[in-house]
C-alpha cells in the first residue's frame, strides 16, 4: 500500500513514448498538467478538463485515456503514448498524419492530438473500419473547425493505406 500525502510532492515515473521519464507531483496533479508543465510535452492539449472534449486523449497501458480525468500518481510505472510518439522520425509524418494533412482534417489543430491518438489506437485494433465505426469513435471528441467530414475521410484513407503497406507516399 502506498499513501501519498496531500501537501507533498512525490516522484512519478513512467515510460513516455518508449523513454523513461520522472518528475515530481502533488497527488492532485492531473496527468494532462504533469505532461505539459512538468515534462514539457505540450502536444497533448487541454480543453474542458471534464472528459467531454477529448483534446487530452492519450494511451495508457493500451487503454484510451482522458489525461484530464487521470492523476499523474495513477500512472506510476505505466506505459504512455502521446501524439509526440506518432511520427516515425522528426522529419517524417506517419500514415495517419499524412492522411490528415492531405484531407485538411485539421484547421486550428486544437482537437487534433486527441483525435489522432484515438484513431491510431483504434485502427491498430480494427484495420477495416466502416464510416459508422469512425463516426462512433469520433463522438468522443469535439472539433469546432472542420465539421468532421475531412477527419472521417482521412481516417478511412489511412485505414485503406495501412491495409496495403507496400504503397509508400511522400510527406508532401
Amino acid at each position: 500500500m502506498t499513501r501519498l500525502k496531500a501537501d507533498q510532492r512525490h516522484s512519478v515515473r513512467f515510460t513516455l513514448n518508449g523513454k523513461p521519464v520522472e518528475a515530481q507531483a502533488e497527488p492532485r496533479m492531473l496527468l494532462s498538467d504533469f505532461l505539459r508543465h512538468q515534462l514539457g510535452a505540450t502536444g497533448t492539449h487541454v480543453g474542458c478538463e471534464h472528459g467531454v472534449c477529448g483534446a487530452c486523449t492519450i494511451v495508457v497501458d493500451g487503454m484510451l485515456t482522458r489525461s484530464c480525468l487521470t492523476l499523474a500518481a495513477q500512472v506510476d510505472g505505466c506505459e504512455l503514448r502521446t501524439v509526440e510518439g506518432l511520427a516515425p522520425s522528426a522529419d517524417r509524418l506517419g500514415v495517419l498524419q499524412q492522411a490528415f494533412r492531405r484531407n485538411h482534417a485539421l484547421q486550428c489543430g486544437f482537437c487534433t492530438a486527441g483525435i489522432l491518438m484515438s484513431l491510431d489506437h483504434y485502427l491498430a485494433k480494427n484495420p477495416t473500419p466502416t464510416e459508422a465505426d469512425i463516426r462512433d469513435l469520433l463522438s468522443g471528441h469535439i472539433c469546432r473547425c472542420t465539421g468532421y467530414t475531412p477527419i472521417i475521410q482521412a481516417a478511412l484513407e489511412a485505414a485503406a493505406q495501412l491495409a496495403s503497406p507496400q504503397k509508400e507516399t511522400s510527406d508532401a
Binding site: 501519498l4 497527488p27 468522443g140
Partner: protein, 271 residues
C-alpha cells in the same frame, strides 16, 4: 479547474481499501475509472480528503459465471465487459445498453460498479441492474451484505451504500431465453439519456424499466395486456415517474417518450 488537495492511497489488497474507508469514512472516496469522480473533483463538486485507488487490485477484476448469475467485480471496466465473449448469451440486455454508456474513450477506463456507485438518474447500468433485478455486493471492515437493485438507489446520486462500504461487485441474474429490448433517446449517442427504457419478457408477462425520468431508475411488471389496457398502464406509469422539465427536454416530452418507447419495446419482447 484543479482538484482540491487530497491524500492518494494506492491499494494493494481489499483490506487496504476497507481500512482506508473505515478510518476516513465520508471523507474518503474510492477512485475507480475516474470518469465521473475526476470531473467532479476538477469542478470542485466533491472535496474528499482521501482517494483510494482500487484499479491495481487483480482480485476485483473478475467476471464470473456463478450458477444462474454473473458476478462482475469492482475493477471490471466497461470495455472489459463489452469484450467478454459470454456477454451476449448471458446478459443480452447489458450487451444492448453498454454501448450507450459514454464513448469508446470513456468506456476504456470507466467501471461498471463505478457507474452504479455514482447513481446518475440517466445512467444505463443502474437501469440495467434494476431491470434485471440484480444485487449489489457491499463490503466494509464490519460486514458483508447484498442489497437488491430496487433498494440500492435512494435518490438522485444517492445510494444505500454506507460511507465505509466498498461495492465489491454486482450479481446479475442470467435470464435464459428471455427476450429483452433496449432503446434510448439522447442528444447525441454517448450523451446521458433523456429517456432510456429496457423491456423484458417475464414468466407472467412483461417488465418495463425507465431511466432518465424519475430520480432513480424504476421498473414495473405487468401481465400481458393489450390495446387500450396497455396504453392506460403506460400512461399511468409515465405520470407516476414525476418527470421534470430541464434544458434538454420538457416533462411532457419525457412522458411521451415513456409511452411510445414503452409500447414499442413491449411489442418487441412479446412478439
Amino acid at each position: 479547474m484543479k482538484p482540491p488537495a487530497f491524500d492518494y492511497l494506492r491499494a494493494e489488497t481489499v483490506g487496504d481499501v476497507l481500512e482506508g474507508l473505515a478510518q476516513q469514512g465520508g471523507d474518503a472516496r474510492v477512485l475507480a475509472g475516474g470518469q465521473s469522480l475526476m470531473a467532479m473533483l476538477n469542478m470542485r463538486l466533491a472535496k474528499p480528503k482521501l482517494l483510494i485507488d482500487i484499479m491495481r487490485l487483480n482480485e476485483l477484476r473478475q467476471i464470473e459465471r456463478k450458477g444462474d448469475a454473473v458476478v462482475i467485480g469492482a475493477g471490471v471496466r466497461q470495455a472489459d465487459l463489452l469484450a467478454w465473449p459470454q456477454l451476449g448469451e448471458t446478459l443480452p440486455l447489458v450487451a444492448l445498453a453498454l454501448p450507450w454508456v459514454g464513448h469508446v474513450q470513456t468506456r476504456s477506463r470507466g467501471t461498471i460498479c463505478g457507474s452504479l456507485a455514482h447513481a446518475d438518474p440517466s445512467a444505463e447500468m443502474p437501469l440495467a441492474l434494476v431491470a434485471l433485478g440484480g444485487e449489489v455486493l457491499l463490503r466494509s471492515a464490519r460486514r458483508r451484505r447484498r442489497v437488491a437493485a430496487r433498494d440500492f438507489f435512494a435518490g438522485m446520486m444517492l445510494t444505500a451504500r454506507a460511507d465505509d462500504e466498498l461495492i465489491e461487485g454486482i450479481s446479475l441474474p442470467v435470464v435464459k431465453g428471455s427476450r429483452v429490448a433496449f432503446r434510448e433517446v439522447a442528444r447525441r449517442h454517448g450523451d446521458f439519456a433523456i429517456v432510456a427504457c429496457a423491456a423484458m419478457k417475464t414468466p407472467t408477462g412483461v417488465r418495463l424499466a425507465v431511466g432518465g425520468v424519475a430520480d432513480v431508475p424504476t421498473a414495473r411488471d405487468w401481465p400481458v395486456l393489450d390495446g387500450c389496457a396497455l396504453d392506460d398502464a403506460l400512461n399511468a406509469f409515465a405520470y407516476e415517474l414525476v418527470a421534470r422539465d430541464d434544458v434538454h427536454a420538457t416533462a411532457r416530452y419525457r412522458r411521451d417518450l415513456v409511452r411510445m418507447i414503452g409500447r414499442d419495446l413491449i411489442d418487441e419482447v412479446l412478439q
